[in-house]
Symmetry: C2
Subunit: 376 residues, 2 copies
DNA sequence: GGGGGTCACTAAACCGGTATAGTTTTGACC
DNA sequence: GGTCAAAACTATACCGGTTTAGTGACCCCC
């Protein structure tokens, strides 16, 4: 196993200085065409690969992007969002010679230190901000650290922009965002349930401090109100199947239990269906259930789960592209992806006519059919 | 925002040479106690953090470990193994100031280039080898690249060790392994089904080229044979819920369908239950189903899924520790973790007495009960 | 034919650490 | 008090790139 070729080897072999090799390899002017070709030939012949660490030291860039996931490891395993998102990110990064540096943290205190460490170690050139929170402390943190970032979704515009030098009317968030608006899907879902005749509806959401939880809650409740429905019963969970199951138990124990339950992700919805079945209820005859994210499994459980498709893979790809551009050029535009849409499957159906589990269909709504449901 | 302090700043402020600062910070002999203290004080005061890239360049070490996942992004989202494994790895790395560099690749050709790139870029100091394959090409590859690695499970010992300098009787695999033996769990599962009276049993396994698939297949079939059962029907899949569902369809379409189906992971098992329910079969009355890995969701679907618990989180922790030791000292011992055990839940029950779905219980086996199943 | 400008290229500084050779200080011992 | 070795510390080379200042060579043009 012989030593790797360095830029000095290439320079010597090509009979030029190493500075010129650097110029030729980085496509910079000041190298005559035939010299450039000769250098590139020699480099290829020696199988020269520039040293990342040397380059990093010189240029103060790491050629890596960072993702810090602040969720309990257990949840991480159950929720398919992050694996898909990461796969999307990777799909872009791998073609660009960049790497993804990952960190999974349990608590907030540790989270901050990871952001600080990644920055002070120059371990990454930019970071993805997922699971955006209200008044997210990570935004001023990264801003003060001078670390570029891309947010998934719009952060809440804060009026008190701390040191906003220009008095322009620009939005208060300092980082470009990649938005995949889930409101249309949520609105469609609310209308869908209202049209099926549901009135007593529960919404089992994720942690309230996460923006998407409250945003979806607002969109859902707002649409129901428009449709003349009473406000939904809202239950906050941590996104685990366990809490989804527990929430379902509590809801079904109510004196006047809901006829439809909407869950913040698919694992919770699947767990909810499990609870219903265990109690002898049939879905959707006695209880309608819907999930969120449209994971693969949602299509294959029985009954297949009505869900809102959010496409984390595409989200990851676009977030990676935007962050790469931000890092390279210093600025990047906000991007809006096609919004999430409702996917109706077999787990939602017309409201039961009486309070007891009676199998009488109540309206013209088609009875739920086969598994591979199409978009609404 | 002022510039980060460098080692030179610390040296100047402490009135010593930077070499001595380096010695003091790395706990090396040759520094008097009070000088060392003074240097450390100054470093703390200046909030000095050594530059990773500079250190990497000097030491030819990247302070990062790599994981290449060669699975389709879709599968990655559904299968909870990797997220949990990664979380376990992270739990160890984060306390050691190391980072995890991740890559997700679809096809084998790309996989090899990633291993080569990570190596030639010195992007990582060592790598995790998961989803071990028969005659795994990654082993000679990493060996020839001189990249340390840890394997999850024992690779198959190859007689033709290429350049085995010493004629010792050591096993042929050059890398330490972290083994979580799943055989006991599989054996227990086979016995469990045999005791319940099942004879026509199907085994829906993962890709044959992966060692764990064939190893489990062998253990399962062998135990059944010992128990006097006929050989199971084996169906190979890619681990997706989609193929799990398709396999279930095919099996149930057989003239003489199996009375129990064992799946290679939980998502497939859950999809299989979905298919059964869709056909009007009841689990476990008409069909017993078992999964693998014991993911969170397995506890919360209905019926809760009998599975084999493999504890990917612990696996990740131990793999990280072993790899860190290997990288630091040049060698590490093989580690055996507590083996995977069977977790009996509600999805497995006594074999139906007749071929038709008749609700007669057939034996003294307790009827499947509540969700939170305990270990067998 | 000498001044001025551009182009191709070289030499050397620099990034921020580690490692090594060399120099001074300390201390033990006779 | 002189000798010698160990301990403490400095100076500097080095890792492998990028970048800047500087040097010829060449051309243009009055």
């Amino acid at each position: 196993m012989k030593r790797k070729a360095t830029i000095t080897d290439v320079a010597r072999a090509a009979g030029v200085s190493k500075g010129l090799v650097s110029f030729a390899l980085n496509d910079r002017p000041g190298v005559s065409p035939d010299t450039r070709d000769r250098i590139l030939d020699v480099a290829r012949e020696l199988d020269y690969r520039p040293s990342l660490s040397a380059r990093s030291l010189s240029t103060r860039t790491s050629y890596a992007l960072g993702l810090v996931i602040a969720r309990d490891p257990e949840i991480l395993g159950a929720d398919p969002f992050f694996p898909s998102f990461i796969a999307g990110v990777e799909r872009v990064l791998s073609t660009e010679g960049r790497a993804l540096v990952l960190s999974v943290v349990g608590d907030d205190a540790h989270e901050e230190t990871v952001y600080r460490t990644f920055t002070s170690d120059s371990r990454v050139d930019g970071m993805f901000l997922t699971d955006l929170r209200h008044d997210d402390p990570r935004i001023p943190l990264l801003q003060s650290l001078g670390m570029p970032a891309v947010t998934l979704g719009d952060p809440d515009a804060r009026a008190d922009a701390p040191a906003s030098a220009d008095g322009s009317g620009r939005p208060a968030h300092p980082f470009p965002s990649v938005v995949l608006d889930d409101t249309p899907g949520v609105v469609e879902l609310a209308r869908h349930l209202a049209e099926l005749g549901h009135r007593r509806i529960a919404h089992v959401i994720g942690p309230r401090r996460m923006m998407h939880a409250t945003r979806r809650d607002a969109a859902f409740a707002g649409t129901l109100a428009q449709a003349g429905c009473p406000a939904p019963i809202v239950v906050e969970t941590d996104f685990t199947a366990a809490e989804g199951a527990a929430a379902t138990e509590r809801l079904l124990d109510l004196a006047d239990p809901p006829t439809a339950i909407v869950f913040g992700n698919d694992p919770m919805a699947i767990a909810g269906i499990g609870i219903a079945h265990e109690r002898g209820l049939r879905v959707p005859r006695d209880l309608s259930v819907a999930g969120f994210d449209d994971s693969e499994l949602a299509r294959y459980v029985f009954p297949s789960v009505t869900s809102v498709r959010s496409d984390p893979l595409v989200w990851g790809e676009q977030a990676a592209r935007t962050l790469l551009q931000l890092v390279a050029t210093g600025s990047a535009d906000d991007v809006a992806l096609p919004p999430a849409r409702l996917v109706v499957r077999a787990s939602t159906g017309p409201v039961p006519t009486s309070t007891g589990p009676v199998p009488t269909p109540s309206g013209p709504v088609p009875s739920p059919s086969g598994r591979p449901g199409g978009a609404h």
